[in-house]
């Protein structure tokens, strides 16, 4: 098996993975089986292009496998997300304005319906959330546009493959979750105004920092030239600092959220580092996959979330952010496993 053949098989599997509507375990099994089949065909003397053609176009093959229950739910979620993301990449300002108007209108209606005016603290928090979202949206649009390809799916695929963590950070869904939780917080009288403003301000600052880190800037290109695990640490550094600062604020729910975020970043860093070291080839890869920690990380995150949910249901907003991040992470993990198998 030549490196070129491996590369072609890897590219084929990446495309197949993008079209499969399956949960992580089933997806990985399908990809492993197809890889085995293609390797056998090439080893038997079939030219790789012929073997790939005989197996069929990835989209058709994925359709033949059909969706499972996880894939069906995931597919619905993914299609809605893709539509939003495509709209954002093609018309960033228009989409941001439309979403801002919808969100702002809904909040205004809520205040009018309750017969209360808009509190000054809420006004400031909303303004900061607006700035945060605009930054996140522009960062996302910029990142996607930095990876030109024929289709939106391919552009996002290239982005997630090259910079999975920045892709996850600027995910509009994640930021909408963050904005929602901040908005909830800002209208809750139990929460000190200073904390609401701190959260909104930190979100705004971080979204604009993510623009500075994008490959469209010189600083971003320099930072992203580091190996992946370090790149992730660099990319998540500011957010981790926000978490630490929040812990210092000694507000129980805020400390819990920050701890959860920090835990997630540490877990992802460790997982990526272990993966990078443990997946060069052959048997080592198989051994690593056998104890692949994706499920463990997810369980850990959910377990960490449980006490927060019991203590304060507002943690649901944070959970949405975390779960959205994990979803993107699992997709990028699958892609990385495919690529590692090709090396």
């Amino acid at each position: 098996m030549t490196p070129d053949a491996q590369e072609q098989i890897t590219a084929y599997l990446a495309e197949l993975s993008a079209h499969l509507e399956a949960g992580l375990a089933r997806r990985q099994r399908i990809l492993d089986e197809v890889r085995g089949h293609l390797e056998d065909a090439v080893d038997a003397g079939t030219p790789v292009a012929e073997a790939l053609a005989a197996f069929g176009p990835p989209e058709e093959v994925a359709a033949r496998f059909g969706p499972d229950m996880v894939g069906r739910v995931d597919g619905l979620f993914h299609r809605a997300y893709t539509r939003l993301d495509r709209s954002l990449a093609d018309h960033p300002i228009g989409t941001a304005c439309a979403m801002g108007a919808a969100g702002g209108g809904a909040l205004l209606l809520r205040h009018l319906a309750s017969g209360e005016g808009l509190p000054a603290a809420a006004q400031q928090a909303y303004a900061l959330v607006g700035v945060a979202l605009l930054g996140a949206f522009l960062a996302r649009a910029w990142l996607v546009r930095c990876h030109p390809a024929d289709s939106h799916r391919a552009r996002v695929g290239a982005l997630a493959s090259a910079h999975p963590y920045l892709a996850a950070l600027t995910s509009p869904l994640a930021w909408m979750g963050a904005a929602l939780s901040i908005a909830m917080v800002s209208v809750d009288s139990r929460l000190p105004t200073s904390v609401a403003l701190f959260m909104a301000g930190a979100t705004a600052a971080f979204s604009w920092i993510s623009i500075a880190l994008s490959p469209g800037t010189r600083v971003g290109r320099w930072l992203l030239s580091f190996p992946t695990s370090r790149q992730m640490t660099v990319a998540f550094g500011p957010l981790a600092l926000v978490g630490l600062a929040a812990m210092g604020d000694e507000v129980v729910w805020l400390a819990s959220t920050a701890a959860l975020l920090l835990l997630r970043h540490v877990a992802l860093t460790a997982a990526a580092t272990v993966f990078e070291r443990g997946s060069p080839a052959g048997d080592r890869r198989a051994r690593f996959e056998a104890r692949h920690p994706a499920l463990a990380w997810t369980s850990l995150a959910l377990a960490a979330f449980a006490p927060i949910a019991v203590e304060d249901p507002r943690g649901v907003g944070a959970a949405l952010v975390v779960l959205a991040g994990f979803r993107l992470q699992s997709r990028s993990d699958a892609r990385r496993r495919i690529e590692a198998g090709g090396r």
Partner: protein
């Protein structure tokens, strides 16, 4: 010749693993060998069919070492053997009926 129905495909796959466990690629090769190249099935239809049969309990599968490589190996279950018998009988009946319709007397 290449078009086979879903039921026929499952019959063929069960027949290929009746005697010994096999992995996907070797099942496809066995299909070609036994049909002397007459059955040119789309390769990607085989794996979804194998998965369906496994879900139905007709096959079980495990990862195993084949030629030094990790492969998903399928083996037939008791339920699969029963299903194979039923499908063979149904196929024989169909074959006989078709031959009668087209005017050829079955042997």
């Amino acid at each position: 010749m290449g078009d086979v129905s879903r039921g026929e495909l499952e019959l063929l796959l069960l027949a290929c693993v009746r005697d010994e466990p096999a992995h996907g690629y070797s099942i496809i090769e066995e299909l070609k060998r036994r049909s002397r190249g007459e059955l040119e099935l789309a390769e990607s239809t085989i794996y979804p069919a194998l998965h369906r049969l496994e879900t139905d309990g007709a096959l079980t599968s495990d990862w195993g070492e084949v030629g030094g490589r990790r492969r998903r190996v399928y083996r037939i279950t008791r339920r699969g053997k029963t299903l194979l018998g039923e499908r063979e009988t149904a196929w024989e009946r169909m074959n006989t009926a078709v031959r009668r319709v087209i005017g050829e007397q079955p042997a």
